[in-house]
Symmetry: C2
Subunit: 200 residues, 2 copies
């Protein structure tokens, strides 16, 4: 029994990881097509080619699957910390240019819009979003700005949350309301203008 | 015939204005309760106590009613131009504090969320919003910032759209995503930090 289990574990683990990836991919694809309101565990299971029980073993709700799917997308791409080459403006432009590219990629834009369609009027989902997605990403942004403060590139008395909001808020807001084009030129102007106010 | 018409006109005009106000109020109230998707001309007519034909005489669609309703709300409150006391920071804080108060008033918050629920995933409605609501308000904001440039309180080389986005974007974004409390203290910090970068 023990030797069987020892032999089976690597295979089972690979199978689990494959199923987990298939479920997260299916959830993102499906929510972009049908919207959050019509997203179901059953639909995700069918699209991922797994049983509903496999999903319920790992996730209690469709919201928890979707948040893990967004987290895996973000983690895959940004690998944790924001870049720190010592040039704050260049690093922020790199991150924000990647953000607007991502926001214009249908594979990210559509599920993100489906999620925001609900967040706008659902305070419980919004609180989940704030805690599980926004706050971990925000902490990475604050870390980069703290490093800039230590390097003497940003004023010590700046409220770091306000700084994050000035840098990322305009881009997210333009994405939500579509009040203007999300170009790299726009990103660069936002970063340069915001940083003028954040310098020592 | 002519004298009858002359006598009837003021009454008819008063009745029209009363009906128009009732329709706009009913549209705002209803969209906050049932959402934009379930808002109908019939529902608005019933709630306003007018016939559907009265509505169709003035508006071609529910979207056009709702935009006029938001415009009338905004126009009633802000009376056109932004305040200009000569103190840019104080004037912006006044406007943005009023904005967050408004965004937390259920009579404005609920219809605005219902509208944004659709705007997030409907590019046509978003374009209407950008043209009919955002752009006229944005022009008023740019006007105030242009006056600040003439008064030597804002750098001449600042892109005015980026300046508007830095000042208003963080607040709208915090309202959409509910990632933090919309307080007057937050407003003041955003204005003070953004203006540091906008000064000559």
């Amino acid at each position: 029994m023990r030797s069987v289990s020892q032999k089976a574990t690597p295979d089972a683990s690979r199978r689990s990881e494959t199923a987990r990836r298939a479920i997260l991919t299916a959830a993102l694809d499906l929510v972009g097509r049908v919207g959050y309101a019509k997203l179901t565990i059953e639909g995700i299971a069918t699209a991922a080619g797994v049983g509903k029980q496999t999903i319920y073993r790992w996730w209690p709700s469709k919201g928890s699957i979707l948040f893990d799917a967004f987290l895996s997308l973000t983690t895959d791409q940004q690998d944790g910390a924001l870049p720190d080459t010592g040039d704050l403006a260049a690093d922020l432009k790199l991150v924000l240019r990647a953000t607007v590219d991502e926001l214009q990629d249908p594979g990210f834009d559509l599920p993100m819009r489906a999620l925001h369609t609900e967040i706008v009027h659902d305070p419980v989902l919004a609180a989940d979003y704030a805690t599980r997605l926004d706050e971990p990403m925000r902490e990475l942004k604050r870390d980069r700005l703290r490093a800039a403060q230590r390097a003497g590139q940003m004023s010590e008395d700046v409220d770091l949350d306000v700084a994050v909001d000035l840098l990322f808020g305009p881009i997210l807001n333009r994405w939500v309301q579509r009040t203007g084009p999300l170009t790299h030129e726009y990103v660069d102007l936002v970063v340069d203008t915001a940083l003028r106010g954040l310098k020592p």
